[in-house]
Amino acid sequence: MMNWNLYSRGDKIFAIVVSILIGMFTIATLYPFIYIAAVSFSSGFAAQAGKVVLTPINFTLEAYGYILKDPQFWISYRNTFIYTIGGTLMSLAFIIPGAYALSRPQLKGRRFFNLFVAFTMWFNAGLIPFFLNMRDLGLLDSMFGIILAFAVNAFNIILLRNFFEAIPQSFEEAARMDGANDFQVLWKVFVPLSKPAIATITLFCIVSRWNGFFWAMVLLQSEEKIPLQVFLRHTISNLSDDDEFAIVQTAAGFSAETVTAAIIVCSIIPVLIVYPFIQKYFEKGILLGGVKE
């Protein structure tokens, strides 16, 4: 749009100052992650004494050794994968056909059904009735319960519905004249045409499943069912006021801080690996759903 070489001197200075400020904000964003990584590789003594600033002090893998030896870490890691993959597939299985149906002009009562879905974005029964309902359904402490009960949300349905509505009608009509039924129109035409939107929703589902904490904490009691986030929380709060641990660690060369940091690193890594691939989608995706209800 604008050419740097045609910038005035003042504009150049302005742009440089702004670039520096952006750089500072970026570093401020990044720094906590670097700090946590440095802590996780430092010795317990160094971490406890607050000596870690940017790089590991007295480099050691003791903290990682401690976690990786804990079978509960692996169980909850596995569970998180189950919740993330199972939950995302479940979400798509509901959302894609549901959004398609809601986008069809020939659906009778379409206005009502759309309102029926959208209303839940504005009014929510709250924690207690939801919890009691889960109990009545017998879905407490159930992995399937977690996967099913958080499969759908109005926002994702509406986002995809809006995308489907924007597909030119002639695509559907051409497929119909070619003999396709609704399932074929959806599967062979709409889904391939909506890859960006579906990728966005998949991304939203994956992120919320991977990060899901509160309801997993409330609904799950069995240790063999808890996801990584709940395990992480337990570990953080247990380590900080566990006297026994304080005695063990002194001998071992790690501390509550380094173990916490190590778990954080372990649970961020998958996000960091996937992040560059999904990045191109969410910028578009967030605008798809946008302000429109």
Binding site: I128, N211, I236, E293
Partner: protein, 337 residues
């Protein structure tokens, strides 16, 4: 015409109706049109598939979102687990009377509004400023990299965010106190002191969401007609003036809509992060409605009272959201041109 076939006395003028439309149209009157129920039956026979696709989603909404709304009636009941939702006796507004004489609940309402107000004051402008700044960065790769990094915290779970905050603000080991002691001050017990909770909470929110929040505004900026800038350049404006005279007025509708939405969500403090960061010593400033509901209901088992508090929260939120929606719709319509 009477003289259609006449060839006596010169040439007649006749009106030629090229199309025998009228005559043909009459024929359709004699047909019996399809009956209404035939049409309805026909419709479902032809379109049953979309209803089949909709059904699972509808059932899901009923079971997981609408059935709890039915369960909300326990806010007006003396609920007991054994008698269930329907079987428990009605007691009217008693729970609400209890709530509005309960200091802890009233404190939670105040805290909710207070924290939201701080979020609005500091958290709302941050992504706008960031977007305006990104718009001035000329180096494409630099800009791209910075954006990638600042969007990242949005995708990190609250548990990890809390873990980072707890580690960084730890009195003995945390980096923040390390800096403080370098400067020669005494370490501060940030997470146990009520006056520090709100700044840390709001600051964490900005750190986590400002980058991601800027996407909407960057998109609005990208939608500004480039010829506006070009004519401003010809008129001799500098970048600073262009930002104030072109960019900001152009994205004002987006800013206002986002602001209205934000105000509509005042009751929605991210209570997950509050639960992870607060402790009894900071309840004074940290406890919000939903965390109070969580403790009263899910931890202490006072389901009916907690449900009443939840209902209060939901109704206020609903009124706010609906008002905001109406405003934003009216605004986005009139503000387009």
């Amino acid at each position: 015409m009477s003289d259609r076939n006449s060839d006596v006395g010169g040439i007649p003028i006749e009106e030629v109706v090229v199309e025998a439309q009228e005559a043909l149209r009459d024929r359709s009157q004699t047909r019996v049109p399809d009956k209404n129920w035939v049409k309805v039956l026909d419709h479902f026979k032809r379109e049953w598939q979309i209803y089949a696709m909709l059904l699972p989603t509808l059932i899901w909404f009923v079971v997981f979102l609408y059935k709890p709304m039915y369960g909300l009636q326990i806010a007006f009941k003396d609920y007991s687990i054994f008698r269930g939702v329907a079987g428990s006796p009605w007691i009217g507004w008693e729970h609400f009377e209890t709530l509005f004489t309960n200091d802890q609940f009233l404190r939670a309402v105040r805290n909710t509004i207070y924290i939201s107000a701080l979020n609005l004051l500091f958290g709302f402008p941050a992504p706008i400023i960031l977007a305006l700044m990104f718009n001035e960065v000329m180096h494409a790769t630099y800009k791209r990299t910075a954006q990638t990094i600042v969007y990242l915290p949005h995708f990190i779970s609250s548990v990890i965010i809390a873990g980072i905050v707890i580690t960084a603000f730890s009195p003995s080991a945390g980096i923040v106190n390390t800096f403080i002691s370098w400067l020669g001050f005494e370490p501060i017990y940030f997470l146990t002191q009520p006056e520090w909770f709100r700044p840390i909470f709001v600051g964490t929110g900005i750190w986590q969401e400002a980058g991601f929040g800027s996407i909407v505004f960057l998109a609005a900026i990208a939608g500004v007609n480039p010829s506006l800038y070009e004519s401003a350049v010809v008129d001799g404006a500098n970048r600073w003036q262009m930002m104030w005279k072109i960019t900001i007025p152009s994205i004002l509708p987006t800013i206002l809509i986002m602001l209205i939405i934000r105000i509509g969500n005042v009751m929605e403090v991210s209570f997950e992060l509050v639960i992870l960061l607060y402790q009894p010593s900071t309840y004074e400033t940290a406890d919000v409605v939903n965390t109070w509901v969580y403790r009263q209901g899910l931890q202490s088992g006072q389901y009916d009272l907690a449900a009443a508090a939840g209902l209060f929260n939901a109704v206020v939120a609903f009124v706010l959201v609906m008002t905001a929606n109406t405003l934003s719709r009216r605004f986005s319509r009139t503000s387009l041109w």
